[in-house]
Amino acid sequence: METKSDQRLFEQHKQKIKREKKIVFAWQLIILVSFFSLWEVMSKMRWIDPLIFSSPSKIFNHLTSKILDGSMIIHTQVTLFETVLGFIIGTILGILIATTLWSSTRFAKIMDPYLVILNAMPKVALGPIIIVAIGPGYLSIITMGAIISVIITTLVVYSAFKEVDPNYVKVLKSFGATRAQLFKEAIFPATLPAMISTLKVNVGLSWVGVIVGEFLVSKEGLGYLIVYGFQVFDFTLVMSSLILIAIFAAIMYKIVEKIERWLIKHTV
């Protein structure tokens, strides 16, 4: 009898959680649908200038035709390729620099003021110099995507390295571990969560770097389409590119979240 009512309470609890989830999802859907319908209606009724703000139906038609003829796919591929590569290079390079800083405290002290300056400096301002130095093309755009995230990754990861509980190091040292072993057994695994959270920031940053890079110099890519659409006053094209960027940035973020859940099952 008792177990039965316990079970029932548990079922009620599960129902409650399920209902809450449904309510949240319903509201999310309502916001999405009303945003696009309001946009559509306002554009149709000419409350906003359809030339500037376009409309969801126009964007949808534009996107489907451009995707079907393949041109949009090429532009998206280019930008995605540049962003993913910039993101990976920026993150890995940042972690590597942080590791060298950790391996020599003196080197870290020497580098400190330079890192502060580099971090404070707006990296996109380096765009023209990068393009002149490396030449217009994928390479300088990927560099833009990487350079924008590398310094902040270095700083965040390095400070995470320093904040690892010294007692883990003490345990390893009592076994006579070398500095490389300290890093491999304690410092690196203990800071995985911090590294993953920089990944999340870097997803957004790399998009900024690549899109700005494409604004400056490119013949393909979503950033190029935005600038081109702006120049020929085709805002349906601009909006279409924006929507694709939003979708793919969100997908990249979700993938990083999946990696996070898979990697840090047992950290802290």
Binding site: N167, V171, S174, F175, G176, E185, H266, T267
Partner: protein, 259 residues
């Protein structure tokens, strides 16, 4: 005769504007198989002594000899157990236990089996593949004990290893550690705040004084108490007598510092 010797060891801690003398000419020696307890007020340098013996920090002057050799060259001979277990949460219990062998590159099938045996001996069968977060505090500290014992250290340093546990678990673990150390004939230094723990577990008690850290007095634990397990030792009629003496000594040192 003496196995581990500290000869006039002093240590200073330096900070930006100041320095403190943590240890002032500490000399004592420990015989093989002996269990020595260090008690004293906070900040008297008990843990500093352990860190120096473990080779984690370098004393500013004096010598530490193990079997007549400077301690640096025989790092592998020291096992260190901390206040908290500090098991690595991303490693399984077995991998945590095998941390020492991994560092020394002696992680063999044989040592793996020994690890499993030791885990069973401390009452933890079937946890080898679990992660630390699924174990209770007492279980985790037992794993930490196995991690310390697996490298077969000649000297065990116990830095208040029971202080973070609840009273019941603490008493049980005291018995377990005591039994294991006697079985494997280990030399040990225990740092503790708990006078009862010091008396019931050790052969000799060094009472320390703070600012700077010195050894104020040494008490030998009566043989009758030494032969008892810690739990029953607390009930021995000579226990209270020694407890009062140590208590008095500690309070004498404390006399001019208000609580």
């Amino acid at each position: 005769m003496s196995f581990l010797t500290l000869d006039n060891v002093s240590h200073h801690y330096f900070s930006k504007n100041d320095y403190t003398k943590a240890l002032d000419h500490i000399s004592f020696s420990v015989k093989e198989g002996e269990f020595v307890a260090l008690v004293g007020p906070s900040g008297c340098g008990k843990s500093t002594i352990l860190s120096i013996v473990a080779g984690i920090i370098q004393q500013t002057s004096g010598k530490v000899l193990l079997n007549k050799e400077p301690i640096k060259q025989s790092e592998l001979a020291i096992g260190y157990m901390l206040q908290q277990d500090y098991l690595f949460p991303w490693k399984t219990i077995l991998d945590n236990v095998l941390l020492g062998p991994k560092i020394h590159n002696t992680d063999t099938e044989e040592i793996r089996n020994k690890a499993l045996e030791l885990l069973e001996e401390v009452g933890l069968p079937n946890v080898a593949d679990a992660y630390p977060d699924s174990l209770s505090g007492g279980m985790r500290q037992r794993v930490a004990l196995v991690r310390t014992l697996i490298t077969d250290p000649k000297v065990l340093l116990l830095d208040e290893p029971f202080s973070a546990l609840d009273y019941q678990t603490k008493l049980k673990l005291e018995d377990l550690v005591f039994k294991l150390l006697k079985t494997y004939h280990k030399t040990a230094i225990l740092v503790t705040h708990d006078i009862g723990e010091a008396i019931s577990m050790s052969d000799r008690i060094l009472v320390m004084d703070a600012n700077p850290g010195t050894i104020a007095k040494t008490f030998d634990v009566p043989i009758e108490i030494r032969n008892e397990m810690p739990f029953t030792a607390r009930r021995h009629n000579k226990f209270q007598n020694l407890f009062d003496k140590v208590w008095e000594e500690l309070n004498k040192n404390d006399a001019n510092t208000p609580i």
